[in-house]
């Protein structure tokens, strides 16, 4: 532990000669790249939303309908990401630890939500879950309505979030040797104990990353959700739909105001999870 501050101080000094050359060049390139691709559009967004007065901004952002929409987006994204954090780990576990016929096919299927245009995903999900469809009608007979409700939104967001958790957990699981578990068993740990105290702690950073990515992606998702949500004002109206609604009225400032709120929320969240991860890694060490 006492070595750590020294290490960090040394890392902060830019002129330190590393093993690999080209630090200055690549750093400059990185800053330029991130600046051009990420910061510039974000700056334009904030700039556009600042063209209106502060009171107009506050009004647009704190409108009752907007508040309901943030809350809905936040809740459903959280639910979707949480479901994926649990079941994505299971999928990753199966893909890493077992061999069975069709495994590589299953492995490839996991990436499909990445590749599919979101509108297609939305239409496909609605085709399955609407009240007259194959699955939807069976669920309806159990009094569970999926399409055109908030549950439908969660289903869509879970669908688009699967790859994030699976793909972040998978490589970590592959690194995790089974002999660690065997050692735990030899030292007298039960199965549950091994899972909670040995496996889960080493997977936690990866799960958190996957969770954060899935959550952030779900917050901003528009294409698939508008097909399955029904878009009822105050009930199933997600924040990105509100942005499109405002654009349709040529209210650019109002739209960017809501976008700014969403952006800030996502950034704070990702930043928070990054901090949490660093803390977890240090606690582990």
């Amino acid at each position: 532990m006492s070595q750590l501050p020294l290490e960090r101080r040394r890392r902060l000094r830019l002129r330190r000669r590393g093993v690999l050359p080209g630090f200055g060049l690549t750093l400059g390139y990185t800053l330029f790249y991130v600046g051009l691709l990420v910061l510039l559009p974000l700056f334009a967004l904030v700039f556009k939303s600042s063209t209106q007065g502060l009171s107009a901004f506050v009004n647009a952002v704190t409108d009752e309908r907007a508040l309901l929409a943030y809350w809905l987006s936040f809740r459903t994204a959280l639910a979707g990401a949480a479901i994926n954090a649990v079941f994505g780990v299971v999928v990753a576990w199966v893909l890493v630890r077992y061999t069975f016929p069709g495994k590589s096919l299953l492995d490839a299927l996991v990436d499909l939500p990445f590749a599919l245009p979101t509108a297609v995903a939305g239409i496909a999900l609605t085709a399955v879950y609407s009240e007259n469809a194959w699955v939807g009608s069976k669920l309806m007979s159990m009094d569970v309505k999926v399409a055109f409700t908030q549950l439908g939104i969660v289903v869509a967001l879970t669908f688009i979030g699967i790859p994030f958790v699976v793909r972040t957990v998978q490589p970590v699981l592959e690194e995790l040797e089974t002999d660690v578990e065997e050692a735990a068993a030899l030292l007298g740990a039960g199965r549950v104990q091994t899972f909670w105290r040995v496996i889960l702690p080493s997977l936690m950073p990866a799960i958190l990353t996957g969770f954060a990515l899935a959550f952030a992606r779900a917050l901003g998702e528009y294409g698939s959700v508008v097909f399955i949500s029904g878009n009822m004002p105050m009930k199933t109206e997600i924040a990105p739909l509100l942005i499109v609604t405002k654009l349709e009225q040529y209210d650019y400032a109002g739209a960017t105001a809501i976008a700014t709120v969403m952006l800030t929320a996502s950034f704070l969240l990702l930043f928070g999870i990054n901090l949490l991860q660093r803390w977890a890694r240090r606690a582990e060490a």
């Binding site: 085709a127 009240e131 007259n132 469809a133 878009n231 004002p233 739909l241 609604t245 349709e248």
Partner: protein, 365 residues
């Protein structure tokens, strides 16, 4: 078959494509289309040189006009070439009306726009000064060469016995219409219902508002666009009645076979006038004003009107209208100007944030 003879046309084709590409790039970059590339290309492509350089127009339109303009563009290109010895290619762009207008405002160089609602075209003036404020009076008939109206589509046999607008507000009837906040078509639907209630004996704004409110209480899904609603109604089998443009209704009935769906024409409806106009700033920059204006004029010609009628738009021309009488039943039609004081007034009153549509869903306080 020698390989030489087959490769030559291919080479020509490649050259021509390259030249076209260069031309379209040139159009985007400088005031005049670059002269060198196209003239060289036409020289290489055919010995008989056309009198004028080929010209390209971009028509930015809304969603359901895709088939109409595919047919009309072919007709116009043929006619223009015969009369002016100049090749004209009309490129089309389709999408939601509001989205399309925003793309033009943000710099998509449309020579002409053919949109769903005059309100969207007004924005081209208000937000970007791309055309003069009086654009709508420049062409006949409010700049709408073809029109349509709002009708109902019901399931075969009309099990819910839907005859007129008041049936849509009945308890237990499920109505499918898109979200007026995001769909231009939905705004016409809403105004048509409102106008019907106004036109009833003793009708006033308060009664119209409560009627429209009752109707929207019967709407289980507000799709983001008109095609989405058609999908919900037709493919998902949700709802008893779909409120939509007549041209969309005729098209979906034609495509799905007659046995499944029926069209019900209400007693009163709104005259939907999709406006067309040249975008002055763009045609002056491209030097395409003459051909763009001729393109829109051609829509008013008997041939243009016939093409519109074939694609289920009501023609303005009386002769053509008479010919297609069976397809377009008579009904009382009112316009947005008649009852709502035009789009410039209707949009903020009804559809902008805090407007009357929002009140339907605001819980009473």
């Amino acid at each position: 078959m020698t390989s030489l003879s087959t490769s030559r046309p291919a080479l020509r084709l490649a050259r021509r494509t390259l030249a076209l590409l260069a031309l379209s790039l040139g159009l985007g970059n400088c005031n005049k289309p670059s002269n060198a590339a196209p003239s060289k290309a036409t020289g290489a492509a055919s010995p008989k040189e056309p009198d004028a350089e080929p010209v390209t127009l971009l028509n930015v339109s809304y969603d359901p006009t895709r088939e109409l303009y595919t047919a009309f563009n072919a007709h116009f290109a043929k006619k223009w070439e015969a009369e002016h010895h100049q090749k004209v290619t009309v490129n089309q762009s389709h999408g939601g009306g509001g989205k399309q207008a925003r793309a033009v405002i943000d710099g998509l160089e449309a020579d002409v726009v053919t949109l769903a609602v005059a309100y969207d075209v007004n924005q081209l003036h208000d937000k970007a000064k791309l055309l003069p404020g009086n654009w709508q009076s420049r062409l006949e008939q409010n700049s709408s060469p073809y029109v349509s109206t709002i009708v109902f589509v019901v399931r075969a046999g009309n099990p819910q016995k839907i005859k007129d607008w008041n049936d849509l507000a009945r308890d237990g009837v499920k109505v499918i219409t898109p979200n007026p906040k995001t769909s231009g078509g939905a705004r016409w639907n809403y105004l048509a219902a409102w106008g019907y209630a106004l036109k009833q004996p003793g009708g006033d704004d308060a009664k119209a508002q409560s009627f429209v409110e009752k109707m929207y209480k019967n709407v289980p899904v507000l799709d983001s666009g008109a095609r989405g609603s058609t999908t919900t109604f037709v493919e998902r089998g949700i709802g008893d009645v779909l409120v939509t443009w007549e041209n969309e209704a005729l098209l979906s009935v034609k495509e799905l076979g007659k046995g499944k769906l029926e069209i019900v024409v209400p007693s009163v409806s709104i005259l939907t006038e999709p406006p067309v106009t040249v975008v002055d700033k763009v045609v002056d920059k491209h030097g395409t004003r003459a051909v763009a204006e001729a393109y829109l004029k051609e829509l008013y010609s008997p041939e243009g009107q016939e093409i519109a009628a074939k694609h289920f738009y009501r023609p303005r021309n009386a002769d053509v209208a008479a010919k297609y009488k069976q397809q377009f039943p008579d009904l009382t039609l009112f316009t947005v100007d008649d009852l709502f004081g035009g789009w410039a007034k209707a949009q903020p009153t009804h559809f902008n944030d805090g407007g009357l549509f929002d009140k339907i869903y605001k819980p009473a306080k």
